[in-house]
């Protein structure tokens, strides 16, 4: 019993010593970190923190090294996501730009329609061109279901485009005034004379049948005359670029610059209240 009692006392005394040592060391550390030991404490805490920093930096470097592949995979995935997002936004920007351009065109067409209230207009989109390079035709997305009929004139806010050549239910084929088979009776605004506007294979426009007596100059505006019943009167066609007058020829000829850019036709107006008149039966047949 005595032996056991001695051991118990030893244990208690050691425990108390240990606790005291811990409390003293802890207290010293707390005081040192609190800066209460002046220079010595600064030196101590500085060294300790220096070691801490050194270990920390090395640890982070090793951690980076070990986890680098996973990070790069995450970055690659994130990059792909962002690239997809950028592509989607770019597509959206293009769509919106197209909408803005369409709105501009439609706005100009509305202005044109408002300026000429005597006609009834229907907007149509150009959805294709004739497959044959010999012909200057375009296809529009309005047909007989929308009231489009053969012979109806087609214009834009800039001027005359052509007329409907063939119609199906939901589409129509339009012969442009640049087509080699196109002929339009026109009137020259300044020189007040009539002429015939002809298309060509290259898409260039020329004037023929200008009287030799007329004084035609470059810059003269060309308007439809309405003669022949094919087109309404006073639609702008273009401007004369140059004139060819030869004394031995019956008529003068001229080259016309169209006001419409036929390569960039997007939206056009169909004049739906105009009915082309077929004057073919009135033309006398040549007797052999």
């Amino acid at each position: 019993m005595r032996f056991q009692g001695l051991n118990m006392r030893d244990f208690l005394s050691r425990s108390i010593q240990t606790i005291i040592v811990f409390l003293v060391v802890g207290g010293i550390l707390l005081l040192a970190f609190g800066g209460y030991f002046g220079r010595a404490s600064t030196l101590f805490s500085g060294s300790l923190l220096g070691i801490q920093e050194w270990v920390s930096v090395r640890y982070l470097a090793i951690q980076d090294f070990l986890t680098a592949p996973r990070e790069s995979a995450t970055l690659i995935q994130r990059n792909a996501e962002l690239e997809a997002e950028v592509a989607r936004l770019q597509a959206e920007v293009i769509t919106l730009e197209q909408k803005v351009a369409e709105t501009d065109v439609l706005s100009a067409l509305v202005d044109y329609a408002t300026a000429k209230p005597e006609n009834t207009y229907m907007a149509a989109a150009v959805i294709g061109r004739d497959p044959s390079p010999f012909l200057h035709y375009v296809i529009i997305n309005r047909g007989s279901n929308d009231g489009v009929q053969r012979g109806m004139p087609i214009v834009t806010d800039q001027g005359l485009v052509g007329r409907v050549d063939a119609v199906i239910a939901n589409a129509a084929r339009v012969m442009l005034i640049t087509d080699p088979a196109s002929s339009v009776n026109v009137h020259l605004q300044k020189s007040k004379t009539d002429a015939m506007l002809l298309g060509s294979l290259t898409g260039d426009l020329s004037l023929d049948m200008i009287s030799q007596d007329a004084t035609v100059e470059a810059g003269d505006v060309v308007l439809t005359s309405g003669l022949g019943g094919g087109y309404p009167a006073d639609i702008v066609v273009g401007q004369i670029v140059n004139v060819r007058k030869l004394d031995y020829e019956l008529f003068q000829q001229a080259t016309v610059q169209s006001v419409v850019d036929f390569t960039r036709l997007q939206i056009v107006l169909v004049i739906t209240n105009f009915r082309a008149i077929d004057i073919t039966p009135l033309i006398p047949e040549t007797v052999p």
Binding site: R129, D130, P131, P133, F134, L135, I139, A181, L201
Partner: protein, 166 residues
């Protein structure tokens, strides 16, 4: 049943022709995607229904175009005939055969169109037609032949798989 694929394929060709290729012009000429497609298809030995494709393609073009409907039909049938004829002559060099068919076929189709338009009374001069339309179109068709062939060979192999004999 596999011939029914002609409808969507040729419709796609027609759509591409009217929306894109007719706008990509060289002088006043434009590539004829339908002609090149039919030529590339007919040059494949295993394709047995190229004639049907030619009639269908010709009718589709004839429906859309201002050219009389029978002109593309006849023109494309001649192209297929040429392809069948030359395919046997140049069987070892199919690309050369395709170039020969496209070259000859372009002349035939364009001259047929020109003749039909002349009969209809359209004032087109032959030298203008040659210099501004036919020759540029011919060049564009030749340029288009190789990429189209690549696609059509895959299509032909898918539709008409070649049976290998052991």
């Amino acid at each position: 049943m596999r011939n029914l694929v002609a409808f969507p394929v040729l419709f796609l060709v027609l759509m591409l022709q009217t929306t894109i290729f007719s706008r990509l012009t060289l002088l006043s000429g434009a590539a004829d995607l339908m002609l090149v497609t039919l030529a590339a298809l007919a040059i494949q030995e295993q394709v047995t229904s190229a004639w049907h494709w030619a009639v269908l393609g010709g009718l589709m073009i004839g429906l859309v175009s201002g050219v009389p409907w029978f002109v593309p039909v006849v023109g494309y049938l001649i192209v297929v005939g040429l392809a069948r004829l030359l395919q046997q002559r140049f069987w070892q060099v199919p690309v050369l055969a395709l170039f020969a068919v496209v070259f000859t076929g372009s002349w035939v189709v364009n001259l047929l169109t020109f003749a039909a338009l002349q009969i209809m009374g359209r004032p087109i001069a032959l030298d203008d037609a040659l210099g501004l339309v036919i020759l540029p179109s011919l060049l564009l068709n030749m340029l288009l032949a190789v990429p189209v062939r690549t696609l059509i060979v895959d299509l032909a192999n898918w539709l008409y798989p070649v049976e290998e004999t052991l």
